[in-house]
Amino acid sequence: MAVKSGNKRKVSKGIGIGARRAIAYVVLVLISFLCLFWFYVLFINATRSQGDLARGFSYIPGSHLLQNWNNMLHFPMISMMTGMINSIIVSLLTAALCTYFSTMTAYAIHAYDFKLKNFMFTFILAVMMIPSQVTVLGFLQLVRGMGLEDNFIPLIVPAIASPVVFFYMKQYMESALPLSLVEAARIDGSGEFRTFNSIVLPLMKPAMAVQAIFSFVSSWNNYFTPSLILHNDKMKTLPILIAQLRSADWKEKDLGVVYMAIAFSIFPVIVVYLILSKHIVQGLAMGSVKG
């Protein structure tokens, strides 16, 4: 009984603990550098002029930040600002619908006993892995048939059925939503729908916040489906515009402006992430521990 549970310093064989810790720090710093270096280069290059960029790479920011910003806003053919507004509209609505209705679906399975309950649960889990690309051909035909091309609806509404978000919500409910609370609300005469909105939703807030962020980001980053549905320049979202920059004859383009456009579509997400990172990283672990 010499070694008590908290005392683990008795590892004398192998490499010493100090050396192991040093190696760990070195590797972690290297990997962090590998993750951040590209964004640093992006930032630097977005502040430099065309002539400056042609002279080679520099580690110090240039002085053309505002000029590049202005030139980006007045790009011929590609309106980044319109793209930004479109992206915000689509992503916000997607996140709202996705989290609200996924919580509702999870609540249906969690709180009620009905005949098809187990079947539905298994079914939703089974379709979880079907990639959206596999059904996109039929999806496009459907969208055309309904006259919804160049419309945000086919990008937003399908988020109501998000099996992955449903699963996360269901897991969270098992630990955070005691059914006795629901019973108590019933005795007080609250209707089922009202109970869901005024008692269940507030309790689910932490999980909903995490999933709202994730569905916002994945909608913000989505390129494949929007590029097949949105053709009108006024409706295009940011990833489509970035792809257009790639295929444009950009030899004549001002590269500083192209870097600025990339930064413009990346940095909002980075800023939001850094502000909320504590909750996001914790939330991730929370979901996976139970999964």
Binding site: V3, S5, K13, I15, A24, Y25, L28, S32, C35, L42, N45, F57, F101, T105, A108, I109, Y112, F114, M120, A126, V127, M129, I130, P131, S132, Q133, V134, T135, V136, L137, G138, F139, Q141, L142, V157, P158, I160, A161, E192, N221, Y223, F224, L228, L238, P239, R246, V258, Y259, I262, S265, I266, V269, I270, Y273, L274, S277, V281, A285, S288, G291
Partner: protein, 301 residues
Amino acid sequence: MKAKRSKAVRYNKWGYIFLIPFVVTFVIFQLIPLINTIYYSFFEYFRSGLNVIGPNFKGIENYIKLFSNGDIWKYTGNTLIIWLMGFIPQIIVSLLLAAWFSDPSLRLKGQRFFKTVIYLPNLIMAAAFAMLFFMLFSNSGPVNSILVSSGIFEQPYPFLDRVWTTRSIIAFMNFLMWFGNTTILLMAGMMGIDTSLFEAAQVDGATSTQVFFKITLPLLKPILLYVMITSLIGGLQMFDVPQILTGGNSPANTSRTLIMYLNDNLYSKNYGMGGAISVYMFVITGILSLIVFKFTNGKKK
């Protein structure tokens, strides 16, 4: 007693009501499209110039064409090779980091900072990230400028005109975007291992390397398999990065993935062939998901 029972039944119909939004949306936007996709795969249906040919029922002709002309195998191969090139370093680095993060005796400081940083690339718009790498690795881009000015290369290296450098850049980007996510998953798995096992090993005088290979790794097998298969399913959907990095024109199409192939058929409006490619991918992901499904269900018991 009877009254209570009927009351419960009355409540339980709300289970169905709350499921309506999901079911309706799923049927309209996923199930019907899926059935339609499968349906079209049996038809000759494409556009030739301004004329639309079909739809004419042709049985499995599309499939015969798809599997006999060899493209599908080439693109499947490309996708798997690039996935594997990203996955191998990803699993090694993630295992290492997860072991360090969850090792209480190491007491690493700044864990939250490191976790935040390694997860960051996962949230970046793949399209913009690929565009950035396209600019960075172009002949006159910063990477070549650094390599030339530091004397490593005499002249710029055409990274995106060579087969293996193009594939490596795509794989590297996939690695960067996903290793943070994998680390967090594996960490959760390692935290779940009974700590008394580690203590017992330490009492017996095992080194940390022995503990890792003899205890952690075997107990982590289920999660490792889960990570591998879900990563493979994700890898098969690889599109944004290779599409934008190469602009759809990689050297001899060696970085063209399955979804890029599907995308081409959608743009040229060859719905019969597009349907066949979709069904092919549906079957593969279906089999892979079934393995995951069996597995996660078995784990609970």
